[in-house]
């Protein structure tokens, strides 16, 4: 029992819920089981991602040639704003923590649930309310918002579209994020299985821990900023209005004090997932466990101090700009520590290139390109040239979509057998990763070049000289659409029709692989006692004997 036994006779969490009736929609909607909540998030997030991805494809289609192609300029403004708002606030910020954090954090620390199961359900419902508010803001008279996802003052006060409602939705979503964050921090502090010291926690738990702290520390600042914008629109208080003595730059500062750490909310859990997948498929303990764990905390801490690098051209003293530039370079160090440790883990490993591992490989390439171009933007001199161009768009998509988005799929493909007890089609999955990688570079790499040549971001129209690059990018968006259909379709099909598989198809050793697939309601037959280091593969033999 030392490592938890694989007992096939327990009912799975699909068959047994926390509500009185185990069947029907309410046994899901009112469930306090972290696994069901995680799956509900997955469903909601998948829908929002698809909607925003289609908006992205429409944007690319408009940009296939100069001038009006399929939509008017105002529609284009709304669509790029919605693409950003939905992708950021509804998909990528909650994505990994809410889906995989919820599902696997308690499993990985050997707990029965999170610390506050009912609060967890409340977070989910607050998230849904926020999402509904976003959708309502689209159809109300006034029209969908057109400010870009950054809601910059003064346009967000002057625009006649439904800004107040849409940003209130962001406030509500932030509240959900805070509650999830404090739930996770408390869970990690209080619910670890016996024997699991801080440095025996899997690295995904460390990453989620650092993320949860950022959610707690940064999100309230965007909360108050959003409230101020709403008050400004309703009463004209003047805090951001220069005519009344206010300062619009102050809005930018407050906005980025949240929104820069928010990109680490997006990327840190992804880095945690990478640290899970690489040891499992390299059959080798992680290289530099403590360095990776601590670098998560370092990123969380330093990431909080770099916000003004978004504002190098907004008007700041040179001293401030130099300091923020320096800090931006420093935050690249812990990210580098992680990448080198991952690569070192693979060295002399017995690598088994299954789909999750291929996703991770594609992540390392895409994220490295994204990260290094981030340094180009973090340097003062080059930033003046590249600021507000497609270079920024490309950088952002490489780190966010190429980073977090890719890892979202990696996590899905890695933990799918645990979540559903079934296996997807490996061959189709391999093709999916490959096509995704090609499509991604086709879609976004031309943007680096366009940005370098001076194409400004968010523009509806452009000069003839950019048209071939835009054409390549648009073609890339079609290939990307095919790749996504392949990748998501494989998963959806396999949820219902996939072959049943064993409880540990990859040979993972962290605690979630010690229980059956799908796990029972309380995760383990008996709370396991942890005796091994998190990535000690010598226990694989023991685990085989147990089953």
């Amino acid at each position: 029992m030392a490592n938890g036994t694989i007992a096939a006779n327990l009912k799975t969490f699909y068959e047994e819920g926390t509500t009185k009736s185990n069947k029907g929609i309410w046994s899901w909607l009112l469930s306090t089981d972290h696994k069901r909540i995680g799956l509900m998030y997955l469903g909601a997030i998948a829908i929002f991602f698809s909607v925003a991805a289609i908006l992205g494809v429409l944007m690319r289609l408009e940009l296939i040639a100069p001038g009006e192609t399929i939509m008017e300029a105002q529609t284009y403004n709304s669509i790029f704003t919605l693409h950003g708002v939905i992708m950021i606030f509804l998909f990528i910020i909650p994505g990994l923590p809410a889906v995989f954090g919820n599902f696997f954090l308690p499993l990985q620390i050997g707990a029965m649930d999170v610390a506050f199961p009912r609060l967890n359900l409340l977070s989910f419902w607050i998230y849904i309310v926020g999402a509904i508010l976003v959708l309502v803001s689209l159809i109300l008279p006034g029209g969908p918002i057109d400010t870009g996802w950054t809601f910059y003052i003064p346009y967000s006060v002057r625009s006649g579209t439904n800004i107040s409602l849409a940003i209130f939705a962001a406030f509500v979503l932030g509240f959900s994020s805070i509650l999830t964050g404090l739930n996770f921090v408390t869970t990690i502090h209080r619910m670890r299985a016996p024997g699991m010291g801080w440095f025996k926690m899997p690295l995904f738990v460390w990453a989620t821990y650092a993320t949860a702290w950022i959610q707690i520390i940064a999100t309230p600042v965007i909360g108050i900023t959003i409230l101020l914008v709403i008050l400004e629109r309703m009463f004209g208080v003047g805090i951001f209005d220069p005519a009344l003595g206010g300062d619009p730059i102050l809005f930018q500062h407050l906005f980025w004090i949240y929104s820069h750490p928010a990109v680490y909310i997006m990327i840190l859990p992804a880095m945690g997932v990478v640290s899970e997948i690489i040891p499992t498929f390299a059959r080798r303990t992680i290289f530099g466990y403590r360095a990776i764990a601590m670098s998560s905390l370092a990123i969380a801490f330093v990431g909080y101090l770099v916000w003004a690098h978004h504002m190098f051209t907004s008007g700041m003293s040179d001293t401030a700009r130099i300091i923020f530039s320096l800090l931006t370079f420093i935050v690249a160090l812990p990210s580098g520590v992680k990448v080198f440790n991952w690569v070192a883990t693979m060295y002399k490993g017995s690598i088994d290139p299954k789909p999750p591992f291929l996703w991770v490989m594609s992540f390392i390439v895409l994220f490295s390109i994204g990260g290094l171009t981030g340094l180009v933007l973090g340097a003062l001199a080059t930033d003046i040239h590249l600021h507000d161009t497609y270079f920024v768009v490309a950088h952002f998509h490489y780190v966010m979509f190429g980073g977090t988005g890719t890892i979202f799929f990696a996590a899905l493909y890695y933990w799918f057998p645990k979540m559903f007890g079934r296996m997807y089609n490996i061959k189709v999955a391999n093709w999916g990763v490959g096509l995704f990688f090609v499509a991604f570079n086709l879609l976004y790499f031309p943007k680096f070049i366009m940005g370098y040549l001076g194409m400004p971001r968010r523009y509806y129209d452009y000069l003839q000289e950019f048209s071939s690059w835009h054409l390549i990018s648009t073609v890339g968006s079609w290939v990307m659409l095919i790749a996504l259909i392949l990748v998501i379709g494989n998963i959806v099909y396999s949820i219902f029709k996939g072959e049943k598989c064993s409880s540990n198809p990859w040979g993972g050793v962290t605690l979630e692989w010690h229980t059956q697939s799908p796990p029972p309601l309380l995760n383990f037959q008996e709370i396991p006692t942890v005796k091994h280091e998190p990535y000690d593969f010598s226990q694989l033999e023991e685990m085989k004997n147990e089953s």
Binding site: I178, L182, I216, P220, V221, I224, L250, L522
Partner: protein, 209 residues
Amino acid sequence: MSHNEQAVESHGHVHRDDVGAKMGMWLFLFTELLLFGGMFLIYAVYRFQYPEQFHFAGMELNTTIGTINTIILLTSSLTVALSITALQKGNKFLSIIMLTITIGFALFFMVNKYFEWSAKVSHGIYPGSEEMLNKQNGEILFFGLYYVMTGLHGLHVLIGIVLLTFILVMIIKDKIISTDLVKLENSGLYWHLVDLIWIFLFPLFYLIQ
């Protein structure tokens, strides 16, 4: 299997971890501090930018009402603490009395706030009014911040009233008892935070002149 069935019964609702519950509450209070922190930051920036105009605008606030409200909130913090201690010692009746007094103080605070704000509004001092627009920039910002910050604080007092009333009902119905009172303690923590924020708002608006 029997082990599992037992565990199902204890799932979620019966699972009890008072230390965990308090930790969650402290984390939540931390986010509240940061929420107000954004406002204090803005206050600091504009006070630095317009020191004299903030000085003059501050003289127009009613220090008497401010002082009375400070005394009210400080005392209510005491009574909520007494309510917790009373229940810990098993004195349910005293706990109920003290909590009722706390809620009474909170209502009293809001009544004062109502009179204070309506006096200001009747003098034409509110965001967007003609009187305000004729003032200097620093004064406009001072009063803008005054309304936003005390308004946000007032909203927290209102939430506190609702929260403490729920807790009161739970104590009366014996849902919160001397051996299981972490909900009361956490609500008390929230109330202390509301008090604490006022302790900073009071000098910044009413006293520093």
